[in-house]
């Protein structure tokens, strides 16, 4: 670990598929290294470089690798507890006979979610981010290399439950899915506009609870539209199965286009 700020190895780790040693790796770069030798005259240097350029380059590499292998990759983002893993379990149980599915799971700690996914019948690998609040393209690329999904698989990348930090980090996904349960309040898209603006799909989840709540589904949709004109909006319940046919239809069609 870096003595300066605590960053460095020992933080993020990928939990190996076979129980054994844990692979540590460093964040994109802590940079607390030797100083470069050079000139000693003060000058202005224009660099005009995106801060996320390194992540974006790694994301482009992931995207090319996913496309070459015919893997339709989805970055699943939501607040904690809105039902990402439950939706994936149900999707795997309903579709995996026809459509191979693999999952990269991101959480701060534990392998609970990867174990749930494997129990549901899909390949899975767990990334523990330690103190990290989001997945980045480097973590996903390394996990993908270990996971080796079957050709033609849909690859779900379940991000750390967080509606803020993941919005800035491209993982190389073909589409970003934001999950939003109706227990969270209609104004969530306005409170967290960056993540909703970046969504290709918004899944409004837990709609089986609608009879017990004072939730206004039309207002939810209007609020999503205030920050995102284009995203496809679907209403689903992983528990009752309501609306899943739309989700499965889109998923199957997109996966076929990706392989073609």
């Amino acid at each position: 670990m870096c003595a300066t700020c605590g960053c460095g190895s020992g933080e993020t780790r990928i939990v190996p598929l076979n129980i054994g040693s844990v692979m540590d790796f460093k964040p994109i770069s802590c940079g607390h290294g030797a100083h470069a030798p050079g000139l000693s005259k003060t000058r202005i240097v224009q660099i005009e470089q995106d801060i996320l350029s390194k992540n974006d380059a790694l994301a482009a590499r992931n995207r090319a690798a996913f496309a070459a292998a015919g893997h339709f990759a989805l970055n699943i983002v939501s607040s904690p507890g809105s039902g990402k893993t439950t939706l994936l379990e149900r999707t795997i149980r309903d579709l995996s006979a026809a459509l191979p599915i693999a999952v990269i799971e991101g959480d701060q700690e534990t392998s609970n979610d990867a174990e749930r996914i494997r129990a549901a019948g899909a390949q899975s690998i767990q990334i523990n981010t330690g103190r990290g609040c989001h997945l980045d393209a480097d973590m996903v690329g390394r996990a993908y290399d270990q996971l080796r999904p079957r050709t033609g698989s849909v690859l779900f990348i379940e991000n750390v439950g967080n509606l803020v930090c993941p919005s800035s980090f491209d993982l190389g996904e073909a589409a970003r899915v934001v999950l939003f349960s109706i227990t969270e309040g209609e104004d969530k898209p306005l409170k967290y506009p960056d993540i909703f603006a970046s969504a290709d799909i918004v899944l409004v989840s837990k709609i089986d609870l609608q009879p017990y709540l004072d939730c206004d589904l039309a207002l939810i949709e209007a609020n999503i539209r205030r920050v995102n004109r284009k995203a496809r909006i679907m209403h689903v319940s992983a528990r009752s199965g309501d609306g899943l046919e739309h989700w499965y239809g889109w998923l199957g069609q997109s996966a076929r286009q990706c392989v073609a």
Partner: protein, 113 residues
């Protein structure tokens, strides 16, 4: 707190540039942070101070230039400034807006020696 990761990325870019452009110390750094970039300027300053210690940018003046949100309105055809992503067009009140600026997160310029 992804600002910590962002500042680690800044240091990484600075080190690569130091090797490429032959400098050994960064004295001043100007960063552009868009209103819709998802990064919080005060948090960036706090994190940069922590992350830069022991690096070529230790004690560098870290200056943030904030860039306004900008959108193109499909209803009235104007390019307008926005404070928030969910704001309506200040000219015609429409929400049919496409954000065209303010998502930047860039290192603009350095003073080095």
């Amino acid at each position: 707190m992804h600002e910590m990761s962002l500042c680690e990325s800044i240091i990484s870019v600075l080190e690569a540039e130091a090797a490429r452009q032959s400098f050994s110390r960064v004295k001043h750094i100007w960063i552009e942070v868009g209103a819709f970039s998802g990064a919080e300027p005060e948090s960036m300053k706090f994190c940069f101070d922590a992350v830069s210690r022991g690096t070529l940018a230790e004690k560098a003046v870290f200056e943030i230039v904030t860039l306004p949100g900008e959108a193109s309105c499909f209803s009235c055809g104007e390019t307008v400034r926005l404070n928030e992503r969910f704001d309506p067009c200040p000219r015609c009140g429409s929400h049919q807006l496409q954000v065209t600026g303010g998502e930047d997160l860039r290192i603009r310029e350095l003073e080095v020696d």
